[in-house]
Point group: C2
Chain length 209, copies 2
DNA sequence: TTTATATTGTGAACAAAATATCAACACGAT
DNA sequence: ATCGTGTTGATATTTTGTTCACAATATAAA
């Protein structure tokens, strides 16, 4: 098993750990108990060296003869990524994208679940949408504080982004996954991940060109 | 205006260029004709140096007194990112996510439009879905060749991913934006961008923890 | 004119990430 | 016992991306 929990893992390594784990779940399902760096690398489209470096960083050691013990590795990655009691997150903006994400997640992960959604459209609030309760945006502070939520997925319309992000910060949210195309600014102690489909597509367009 | 088109721009720079442009469109709409690096930086949450470096790389020069000419900059970024005749792309897998993306895009960009969708669910094929025609996946090669499509957004179910990606490659697709949680392998001459929501969320969970 | 201030453009230093290299080890074959 | 193969773990090197520091320039004010 692993030795000690390092202070700060490189961002890219954390991303890959999440993906290693997903792939390893499949391997377990297929009855695989041990795995070599080159096997894992192939499944992820990486080099074996990269895999070993990542595992080295989390302090996990394999054996030269059998490689890595899949179950132990999954457990260790869980210890690094997951919170002990699991993370409950909220979706803010229950439009097309918000609903797609919510439907996708429902009952998928054990340690990461969508607890509720928020919107300002009265057609959507105070009822179950895509399997989870959807409340009015004005209730967000109360809810977040009561339920101890710290992560929000932001999928409101672009015009509302700044306003709503302010509300998230006021409510005490500590991690925002921003899918609106509007760049956000957050205080130092809040973590922000941004992703924009159009940017990805335009990058592809540039590369293909 | 710009001097000459450099051979290969850093990937991150290309991503930022796409975002500069979106923000600059807003500035134009607000009547702004010139902009300083620090203004653009603030809107994007970057340092002014980073902005200037990016613009340097694309060979665009501003003036010390007026900064950059917004319109010219937008034009130059367009020359770099856009194809002359525009790119028509396809969405493969018309589920929740595919539909969200399609609805979002409809009529949004001039140079980047979703031409058609493909699925294997007969409930969805041979009709208009979310504003665009949806065909059966078996027709994809014919369509792609006839219409000269080179970019595909992949949003099929995880189990179908490998099969469908093979079909995309056979059809001659040169750029794939893969939103399934299954890592893909593609030949050298095909460009691949992958993004996974769960990974982003787990990264956030790690950071917040 | 001279000075102060604000800006761009860029070489150089720095940091992060990916890749290459290799010693040490385990184990089966001989 | 010993060799050959395939593996890990660690260090070194290369590549990619960001930031620093400052020269050059423009403008406005004194
Ligand atoms: N759907 C996509 O593929 C896609 C792609 C790129 C970017 N985006 C961005 O993601 C965001 C959501 O996209 P979408 O397609 O789901 O849009 P959408 O219009 O379907 O959904 C937006 C939702 O936000 C809600 N909303 C608006 N103002 C609000 C407020 N003040 N408080 C709470 N809720 C509010 C609306 O009621 C609506 O339900 C947008 O910012 C869009 O630019 C979406
Ligand atoms: N929705 C999300 O937020 C989300 C998040 C992360 C990952 N993903 C991934 O994105 C993909 C799509 O997600 P979704 O929520 O839209 O799922 P979905 O089930 O709603 O849609 C999948 C679509 O793919 C089609 N399909 C299945 N096999 C096909 C085949 N062989 N050829 C053509 N079409 C086929 C189905 O008919 C369906 O329309 C999945 O791989 C999922 O894991 C989605």
């Amino acid at each position: 098993m692993g030795k000690n929990k390092p202070q700060a893992l490189p961002g890219k390594t954390v991303e890959r750990l999440s993906q290693y784990r997903r792939i390893l779940y499949n391997s377990i399902r297929e009855g695989k108990t041990n795995i070599y760096s080159h096997e894992l690398a192939k499944m992820m489209n990486l080099t074996p060296v990269q895999v070993r470096r990542d595992l080295m960083l989390i302090g996990y050691s394999g054996s030269q003869s059998k490689g890595y013990v899949v179950k132990d590795l999954v457990t260790l990655i869980g210890k690094i990524i997951d919170s002990d009691k699991g993370q409950r997150i909220i979706v803010v903006g229950m439009g097309n994208l918000g609903r797609a994400i919510t439907s996708y997640f429902s009952g998928k992960r054990e340690k990461l679940s969508i607890a509720a959604a928020f919107d300002n459209d009265l057609q959507k609030t105070d009822r179950i949408v895509a399997g989870i309760p959807c409340y009015h945006i004005n209730q967000i502070k109360e809810y977040v504080e009561k339920e101890g939520i710290s992560i929000a997925v932001l999928t409101v319309s672009p015009e509302a982004t700044h306003d709503v992000s302010k509300k998230l910060l006021e409510a005490g949210i500590k991690g925002i996954l921003n899918y609106t195309s509007v760049p956000l600014t957050v205080p130092e102690d809040v973590h922000l991940e941004e992703y924009d489909i159009v940017t990805s597509l335009e990058k592809l367009a540039y590369l293909v060109k």
